[in-house]
Symmetry: C2
């Protein structure tokens, strides 16, 4: 049922021009999906809007605010929690794919980026200039900077380099009634007023639409090396991680895989990893060539003194082979079962030896296969619950198991999400994480930016 007056759609067409407002059923269906692996509330929107510049975004928000049309902003739709999915058939999806320009200010090591720029394209460009934009969500080859900012995207490099938030210096955002807010400045320090910029980072499209993003760039590290370590027990992994960090070494990635993950990858594409290994660490170091070299041998002796078996990549080819173990994990898991819920809880990393067996217990209780990997340096665990797609009983079990995994994370002073955001799938846990007084603040902030609840309604919080 279409509840919107055709007035609204007409106004949108008039304001933006026909070619920026698509209403064919295939278009509307195509833009109603994202990468969320579990069943979610998903509606076919009234239209898909393709703004080409800031003025388009202002006009579209003006019309939507006048006509009470919900607005569902969308980057590449690679999100895993339903953030880009329309939940109201009276709403429009706003795709930023035509706003994909950027400029780099080399002298100031900053960049001005439109929301639809593809993360990988931007990264490749700045690296050619000797600069570096570290945030590396696993979807970076197709995800957009706008989506990354809206979700505060992270990835393996976060331990050393921080999340997207640390690279956003300023934002131009269209809020209620089409008003434009400029927050931040293209400088590294700006303490004027409340930090609207970082409040908007990670707000999942519920406070407004970005039209311009100012990013910080840093010098590109000159060298990068990888080592792989295998462990006989879990406790040693935690010790190893601490030993590395406390020796003054700051790896650019510290990736972890549990024994089931190792087994899954070996079954899928054997790479000669020993079968009995309880855990695997991939350690990447970057920086000055001589430091990387020396630190690598320090890491090696540290790990070996703890009983780990260590392999250091001699060249780029070997490096890619080591990383392929981690990169084959996704396909390996799909090979095991057709369905996969990949959750991304975080716990302080020292709790890992306690938390991991408990995750296995949850999986056992629900009769599910669970595989855990993640970014151990920052305590971010990807808990993969595997099930057969179409087997509704297993799907339901997996969903209930996920609830228990979230409870576990909160009980261990962690968070329900380190990377994927809240979206639709984790909404019910947010009040628990924030408490009543904190949740009231979230609601209050939402009302300040979007009193009509038209920006990505139904996501992140319950109004």
């Amino acid at each position: 049922m279409n509840l919107v007056s055709s007035d609204g759609l007409d106004k949108l067409r008039k304001a933006l021009g026909e070619r920026k407002v698509k209403t064919s059923l295939p278009d509307r269906k195509l833009y109603s999906y994202d990468a969320t692996p579990i069943p979610i509330e998903r509606k076919t929107p009234l239209a898909v809007v393709f703004p080409e510049n800031k003025q388009d975004v202002i006009k579209l928000v003006e019309v939507c605010y006048e006509e009470n049309i919900p607005v569902f902003p969308r980057g590449a739709g690679s999100g895993l929690t339903g953030g880009a999915v329309p939940t109201d058939e009276r709403g429009v999806v706003v795709s930023f794919e035509r706003m994909d320009k950027f400029t780099v200010d080399v002298d100031n090591a900053t960049a001005t980026v439109q929301p639809g720029v593809i993360t990988a394209d931007f990264q490749a460009y700045v690296e050619k200039l000797g600069l570096f934009y570290p945030p590396d969500p696993s979807s970076f080859k197709y995800s957009t900077i706008g989506g990354n900012v809206a979700e505060n995207a992270g990835g393996p490099r976060c331990l050393k380099y921080g999340t997207t938030r640390e690279y956003v210096l300023g934002l131009e955002t269209v809020i209620k009634e089409g008003k434009v807010v400029r927050s931040g400045r293209p400088v590294l320090k700006d303490v004027a007023g409340y930090d609207i910029t970082r409040l908007l980072v990670g707000s999942e499209g519920t406070l407004g639409l970005f039209t311009e993003i100012t990013l910080k760039l840093i010098p590109r590290p000159k060298a990068r090396k990888t080592a792989l370590a295998l462990f006989d027990d879990l406790k040693t992994v935690g010790k190893a991680v601490n030993a590395i960090l406390l020796s003054g070494i700051f790896p650019s990635a510290l990736e972890f895989m549990d024994e089931d993950a190792i087994r899954a990858v070996e079954q899928y594409k054997p790479s000669g990893l020993p079968k009995g290994a309880k855990a695997l660490l991939l350690i990447e170091l970057d920086g000055h060539p001589c430091a990387v070299e020396e630190e690598l041998s320090e890491v090696r002796s540290l790990l070996e003194s703890l009983g780990a078996k260590v392999k250091v990549a001699k060249d780029e080819e070997e490096e890619q082979r080591l990383w392929s173990v981690r990169k084959n994990l996704g396909p390996a898991l799909s090979h095991l079962r057709s369905g996969k819920i990949n959750e991304d809880i975080v716990v302080p990393r020292s709790y890992l030896p306690e938390v991991l067996p408990r995750i296995r217990d949850i999986a056992k209780k629900w009769g599910l296969l669970v595989v855990v990997f993640g970014h151990i340096g920052d305590g971010n665990l990807h808990v993969n619950l595997l099930y057969d797609k179409g087997n509704e009983e297993e799907e339901r079990k997996a969903e209930r198991a996920v609830d228990e995994v979230f409870e576990l994370a909160l009980r261990f002073n962690g968070s329900i999400t380190g990377e994927h955001g809240v979206g639709l799938t984790k909404k019910k846990f947010l009040r628990w994480q924030f408490g009543d007084a904190g949740y009231e603040l979230l609601l209050g902030i939402k009302r300040v930016f979007d009193p009509k609840n038209l920006f990505n309604p139904g996501k992140l919080i319950e109004i």
Copy 2:
């Protein structure tokens, strides 16, 4: 005139105990000052309250919210914009000096800190454990972590390591009616809900009172070296800074002094710097010993190829001698004139050669002496306008010159403050920097946290 019912004070005494509520005139006077160098609105408060734990803070906010008593939180009073100064004689100053405990979780490289902990004490402690807490405001020897968080304090190391914000993982905050909000988690990644933690960082005590701060620590760099470079013209400085950063070198400090600053220091304590030098850079590198060594020689050849004269410290003693040039600047300026307004504008660093002459023009126009130094890597300039204390005409001129300096910063896409905050002294410029729509958001946020406008009223924004 005391407008508060004695009820309020009685209730505070009853709730907290006599020894935590001081009302003698010397105490009230003593706690009504901060380090702001210009005349500001300053009132003698009704009382000074000394909470000793979270419960005390909750009780005091409960009473104050019931009795409409303004609350002026105070760290060490080292702020430069009036942030800790009471502006209402019906209010109470809350000093956190008795809440000075902290614990370090070495395994997770985090710390739990009460707001009254002295920054330098905390830094020294974690460094002994092989860890590092980088934020280094120049007041770090006496400033408190609570104050640093409230102001989002920065310092020379910000270029490489970021400001206080980048190290705050979580906060426990008492807001309106004594409600307690826990935001963030002791983990590096947490993208659940709006980023209340970073919204509170830099909120200058206007949204609530911190009772616990969770900080991120990083591995302590193993080596540190300093070089000093002298330049014949300003443009080369900018080129030199970019050349260093684009060669993949990330200095831990890049301090700049203009020719007047060099001259002032040489007059005060001669260290053999040549008289004709137009600019000086102090470059500090830290990290792995071999990288520091190699990078230092790279930096040296880079600078020399641009015509700079470079001196590298051979040992710690020489290093301290190089830094003394920068550290003697404060006393040197007091020696020149009795009064000093030290403003901290930020501009994108490439604008420096354009902005600096304009600052001199402003000083000339008002007949004032101006000395500029700062953290050039992040474009943060300390503009020191010197005048004779007690000479009211000069004081007024200095204040008007400062206004023009702020206008200049905003015109060059910069900010009115990189480190010191808004407080009382920069309030009138905030609307300009944010625009009407942005300012409305600030007001809306303030109302959500503090509808009665009792937390540090009169600071940052105009209600």
